[in-house]
Amino acid sequence: MDTISDFADGFAVAATPTNLVLVLVGVLLGMVIGVLPGLGPTTTIAILLPVTFALDAPSAIILLAGIYYGAMYGGTITSVLVKVPGEIASVVTTFDGHQMARQGRAGPALGIAAIGSFIGGIAATFMLVLLAKPLASFAERFGAPELFLVAVIGIVLVLAMGGQSLPRAGAMVAVGLIVASVGQDPVTGSGRFTFGSLEMLGGLDLVAIAMGLFGLSEVLSNVGKGSAQTPLAAKVDGIMPNKQDFKDSAGPIARGTVLGSLIGLVPGGGSVLASMASYSVERKISKHPEKFGHGAIEGVAGPETANNAGSTMSFLPLLTLGLPTGTVMALLYGALLLQGVTPGPTLVSEHPEIFWGVMASMLIGNVMLLVLNLPLVGLFVQLLRVRMGIISAVTVIVTLVGVYSLNNSMFDVVTCIIAGVVGYFMRRFGFQPGPLVLAAVLGSILEINLRNSLAISDGSASIFVTRGISLVMVAVLVLVVIGLASSTFRGKRKQTTEKIHDLVEAAEHETDLTADDLTSAEPGSTQRSRHV
């Protein structure tokens, strides 16, 4: 009953005229961004963070969440119609979605993707609501050692699942931790790596860094490159799938919901792995695996459901444990910090309007997406004609104005531009900035909780194994590390890493990737190292 009344309160927050408009703006903006080449949800959320500063906390997260799941839908449209995935999680949809479009079935492909995403999103929201309170009240028992270990497990899982080699991901995490340690020491207050600068004493602004690493570096990577010709979009006639389509899709949608929800919970999982896993599962259990890659509707329904369920579920660790499980969640963590709210076990009880408001807005947003998505398909396809140069000019101006407005500080602008240049070189050398931002966000939590833990135990590390919950966490951590070491040793991790690598490349460079590239498990089948 409590949950129902809390949810009702959430609707009261989400259904105010301002928040309804923000959900609508968020999902529309998200869909546009999902469609536009070169702009993903991460970049957009990064450059729009300062705009949310002027909003109250629930409204800010409602807007950003809308952008996030709106982009998941938007990416599907171009994957199906023109075989250009707008964001990475939609690459899998090109395999069968575009084949369906070529067979004159673009409408049912988009229809089943929208219905699957809707079901996945709604089911995951309800699961999230049911799990949130028990998880948050359990997590309220966490002390400093447990909070430290949760963050360590989060970082190790991101290392385990990242789309780059272990040393590269490790280096990015280390740089993020070092960036987080710049400024005042949290215990003694003395300056660290400030080089005598007063501005540095306040620390490097994480939002400015994220805006540079994602927004400006993306622009620098594309500047001077000619725009690709707009591919010819497939025609969309009827959008409703037929009876047989629904029959074929029911299983994949159900499995996609469960799989996506589970993977979304795991740090480093998120929508990309969810859609990959769903596609692999559907192909494996299908009576006609040969149909996959040639227009099987199951290959659209499953992954699309899973990626929306995964992206929805990834809010749970953020809002109940204060643990961002991926880059977008790390940026939302930053958005909450901008609002003066620290995500953690007490968020649900201390700021119920944020948690329940965002949950209710997700339901409203998913309905809006289902209603708006299909009628606007024609308009979205036209957006593919917008040239990269114009997108870049708008991105740069919005980013730099936004970063200045954070603290009215030119120091933040300089930090952002330097981060942009660093991010540009990181991309050129095949480093992904996600783990860096995640570690920069978690860095201060890790340090303060480690120091508090050791202060409680008079400097003895035994505190991590003498408390029940933390002992279990240490065991989980050991298992994860053993799993990571063993998969690295057997070369399995390399295969997964390269599959994700290929997906990233396919999304960024519009290269052809086939269903076989993703699902073949033979050693060496994906043994190529690529530069992203």
Binding site: S165, L177, R192, G224, G420, E447, R451
Partner: protein, 167 residues
């Protein structure tokens, strides 16, 4: 073939093959050196203080991770890079883009937000993106006006406003 072309033809492949492995290992080496520098800085901050963790211990641990990872990067397989990537590794357009960003930062606090947006976006659209004059002028004016109204009038963010415009 001129002497210069002949020299370039002979020297270029050798130079490329000699520099290529170095360039590919460079990120690992740079990160490793940065890690060592941070270790040194952390050491000076103090690893312990009154028997507990000092201000330098946490960054020192992160720097150790950086150094270990950089060794893995240097000794690990190198990333294959396309010839096209090499040719455009740091193109003049990217340098011009960085200069434009820095110019925007400088102009923002001196002449105000609207004029600086109009000027820098005009440069970006015309010179960097190669758009036509009409589209560049219209787009840059629209962008300046939209941002002025959104950030200053609607969101009321205290940005430096041009002298000729109301706050």
């Amino acid at each position: 073939m001129s002497v210069k072309e002949a020299v370039v033809n002979v020297v270029k492949p050798e130079r490329a093959s000699a520099l290529e492995p170095l360039l590919r290992r460079a990120p690992g080496v740079v990160l490793g050196l940065a890690g060592l520098a941070v270790m040194g800085g952390s050491w000076r901050l103090g690893l312990t203080q009154d028997g507990s963790m000092g201000p330098g211990l946490w960054p020192f641990m992160a720097a150790v991770l950086l150094v270990v990872s950089s060794v893995g990067i240097v000794l690990g397989p190198v990333e294959e890079r396309d010839a096209e990537d090499d040719a455009t590794f740091f193109p003049p357009a990217a340098i011009a883009a960085i200069v434009a960003m820095a110019a925007f930062a400088a102009l923002l606090t001196t002449i105000g937000i609207t004029t600086s947006i109009a000027l820098v976006s005009l440069f970006w659209l015309k010179v960097l993106a190669g758009e036509k004059w009409l589209l560049s002028v219209v787009m840059s004016l629209v962008l300046a006006i939209v941002i002025y109204f959104l950030f200053i009038q609607v969101l009321d963010i205290p940005l430096p406003v041009d002298a000729f415009l109301p706050r």
